[in-house]
């Protein structure tokens, strides 16, 4: 009875926090989806791109605040700089670590992007030091308390911003992929690169674009989370891996599945944390094993039959 009581009392808060963090996992995971669907490769340094995004935000906020600029301006400047830098990094990773290693049966790209991750973690430490950094939120630190009978929980304004902004960013990416001509060209490359090339689509450019998109998404995620999580060089490791689990559970070819899986896993994590905080990080991966054993293609993917 006690356990049930604890659960019920903690549930509203867990759901609220879970949705916020889940939306971040989903946002990073969309990056995996974008590159995997066009190139069958993904960037295992995605989580560390988030860290770079967060660190850049710290630098921008720090410099502008010292110069006496208002917080909102910092956010605007960060919003301009972070996508630019991350896009460049995306181009670089694709060119140096992925393209030379994309061959049949090659696993090289897995290791080389892990290599990128190792470099970024250590470069982050060299450039920004090892101490954890706080970044102020544009929306202040006064938690909004919701206290309606059974529903008692608190959220920070920044957390609402995280949820809204990441949902909007995902919507924008999906709209771009599904509706724009460029997005359709990327889909064509994903389905059949040689045929797309014969139709006049620049396959290489599409691949680079996919890497740019995924990197920018991770950078944005970093900008969003630093006001609630401290920025440090290893901050991207777990979110990157959890987002990977989300992408697998949702289905690497299914952006809506990824969104749902992200939110779901976020909530499950926080529900588990009600009872045992140290198991919070393990539950995602435990679920991944169970779900893959049950549905190897993820929750929402339909199996396709091989034709001979």
């Amino acid at each position: 009875m006690d356990a049930l009581d604890t659960l019920l009392r903690g549930l509203p808060q867990a759901i609220a926090s879970g949705l916020v963090y889940g939306s971040i996992y989903a946002l990073i995971a969309q990056g995996y989806y974008v590159t995997f669907s066009t190139t069958q490769t993904l960037n295992f340094a995605q989580g560390d791109f988030l860290m770079i995004g967060g660190m850049l935000a710290f630098t921008v906020f720090g410099l502008l605040l010292l110069a006496g600029m208002p917080l909102v301006l910092s956010l605007v400047v960060a919003l301009a700089i972070i996508p630019l830098v991350l896009a460049l990094m995306g181009v670089l990773v694709e060119r140096v670590a992925v393209r030379p290693l994309r061959r049949a049966f090659s696993l090289g790209w897995i290791l080389s992007t892990v290599g990128v991750a190792v470099i970024l973690r250590n470069a982050g430490e060299v450039i920004w030091g090892i101490e954890q950094k706080a970044v102020p939120s544009v929306f202040g630190d006064n938690a909004i308390r919701v206290d309606v009978g059974f529903f008692q929980f608190g959220v920070l304004p920044q957390e609402i911003f995280i949820l809204t902004a990441s949902l909007l960013a995902m919507a924008a990416v999906l709209f771009f992929l599904k509706q724009s001509l460029l997005g359709k060209a990327m889909a064509a490359v994903a389905l059949n690169a040689p045929a797309a090339s014969l139709m006049g689509i620049d396959v290489r450019a599409m691949v680079v674009l996919a890497y740019i998109l995924s990197s920018v998404l991770a950078g944005l995620a970093g900008l969003l989370v630093v006001p609630v999580l401290h920025a440090y060089s290893l901050m991207g490791v777990l979110p990157g891996l959890k987002a990977f689990a989300v992408a697998i559970i949702g289905g690497l070819g299914n952006p809506f599945g990824i969104l749902i899986a992200g939110l779901l896993l976020g909530v499950i994590e926080f529900v588990v944390a009600i009872f045992n905080a140290s198991l919070r990080d393990a539950v995602t991966f435990f679920l991944l094993i169970v779900i893959l054993a049950w549905r190897p293609l993820g929750l929402f993917e339909k199996p396709s039959m091989e034709k001979v």
């Binding site: 090659s106 090289g108 290791l111 060299v126 393990a282 054993a293």
Partner: protein, 673 residues
Amino acid sequence: MLAVAVIVAAPLVLYDGFIQQLMQTIAYYTIAAIGLNVLVGYQGQVSLGHGALFAFGAYASAILTTRLGVPVWIALFLAAAVAGLLGFLVALPTLRARGHYLAMVTIALAIVTFVIAQTWIPVTNGPTGIGSIPRPEWFGTTMGSLRKFRPLGDSGPVLTGQILYFWVCAGFALIVQLLTNNLLTGRWGRTINAVRQSEIASETIGVSVYRMKLKTFAYSAVLAGLAGALFAHQQGYIVSDTFTFDKSVELLVFVILGGARSLFGPLIGTTVLVVLPEVLKTIGSYDILPKSNLPLQVGLVIVGGLCALGLARGSRGATRTMLSLGVIGGFLGFTLVTPQIIEHFLLVYGALLIVFLVTMPDGMAGFLRNLPGVRQLWRVPTSAVSHGAGSLAGVVAVPLPAQRVSLQLEDIKMHFGGVKAIDGVSMKVESGQVHGLIGPNGSGKSTLVNVVTGVYTPTAGQVRLGSRVLNTLRPHTIAAAGVTRTFQNIQLFKDLTVLDNVMMGFHTRRRAGFLKQLLRTMSAATEEAQIREQALKLLAFLDIEHLADDEAQSLPYGLQRMVEIARALATGPAILLLDEPAAGVNPSEIGRLSNVIRRVAEAGVTMLIIEHHMDLVMGVSNHITVLDYGKKIAEGTPTSVQSNQRVIEAYLGSSEHTFDDLRRGRVVVVQPA
């Protein structure tokens, strides 16, 4: 022998406790890397969770020896078994799916294992760790201790516990290397290569792909566990922080950089990657090289950069080798003369990883093999012996007339959603016959082949071979029961030689089990030799024995088809299904194909031939069934079918033409490539 001598001599020459410990490390990581290479390189399944299996081995051995008082020697083997069992359990549900899913599950395994190690304090002690893990004893000396002693009297060599433990680790590594070589150069290696290249073709010659993958995964898990146990007893204490996801990546790096799908790649990769960091650190800490010398730094960056640009533009042979060395040299040189960088060693490690991966796509072993002049040393001389065209009966177990059975299809339905690809077809392939199956495109012919061979499970109806019901069985069981096939789009094991492809066909009749292959016992070796002999005879029967040592993918289409037929015949089929054997075959080779079909039929193999090429199918068949829109529209002798009005309409759209028009080219029916 040489290897044993090197292992015995190495620690005596390199008389330094630290170096000896490094050599122990190389030895046990090599064990894990060898196992991982079997899985990743040969089987083509990625595991990013072998660090977890390594951790399980380490914890199992540590707990067994410290808490349960199990002797170290026994604990080592138990730990390997525990890791193997765990690997088996994880792989059991996972390997049913294709593609990269094993990679994903193993990532999860690595992380879950780490969290368990961190948080399950009563068992693992978490970050505090398990201490005083006993080391094995030998000559009354605790292994790993630095105390010197002379076991062979005063004039004998001076030994330490450190040296003894190296001998143990290296001894294990040597045995593992030899046994694994046995596996990989024999039938096991051939089979997992085949599975990697075409799962569906492996199934139709009787290989249980799933079981094969499972066994391979378990084998590599056992080796990871053994390595972990050796690690635990070397360290004396283990803490959970050692077993992060990075450990799994590290093991994979050893394999890929060393050279996946190469027998000694894991050894090379492990050695270089364990030694190189230490060398770099040592050189970095002495003032041998000029430091922070700007012109030198810039020069090295320019050299490396130019070489990298050269590589990116694409080059081959010796130029490529030189450029690769230039990139690596430039990078390492720059690192060594830039103290700010070498202090952050992981930064260098990450970059080094990328540099090596990009410059040596086949790993170090592949790089060495491709050096000018080395390839010739590697090549094994061919051994094809000409046996002349013999009879099939002497080569494969063709069923005797009394044992021959017919294949019966009863009211088969195969629906894909709303599409009725086959809609109630019944037919009987009488034993000893060549039965033709024709029909316009999309009439359901290939679907029917897929149903009979178990690639598809029919929506309704029954397939029987004699009295045995086939339609609930998996393709490999159906193959073992005596039904096999060739494919419209040829499914050979491309990288294997013609001979190896055909030897694969004998899979169902081989008896030597895993252990016998591992130890390469007399009976396993004899069996291999016999099968080789039989495969060569089979090639001779089809007049292609001179191609035995050619890579299958190097042959023209028509000859590839012959190899595919040879491989199918090797299974000793009661019924052989040929799915459009003439597709893509040069017109001048059609005569040869008909000839082969006739000779196979004479030998007593029943055949079902799906074909568009009318001359061929009418020429060789005794009996013909015609499908249209998933239904049988006619059946009978070739002559009766050709004059059947429904057939003519189905093919030519009207009854104004005859089949002769089709043959003479007055009517053109467009066929897919």
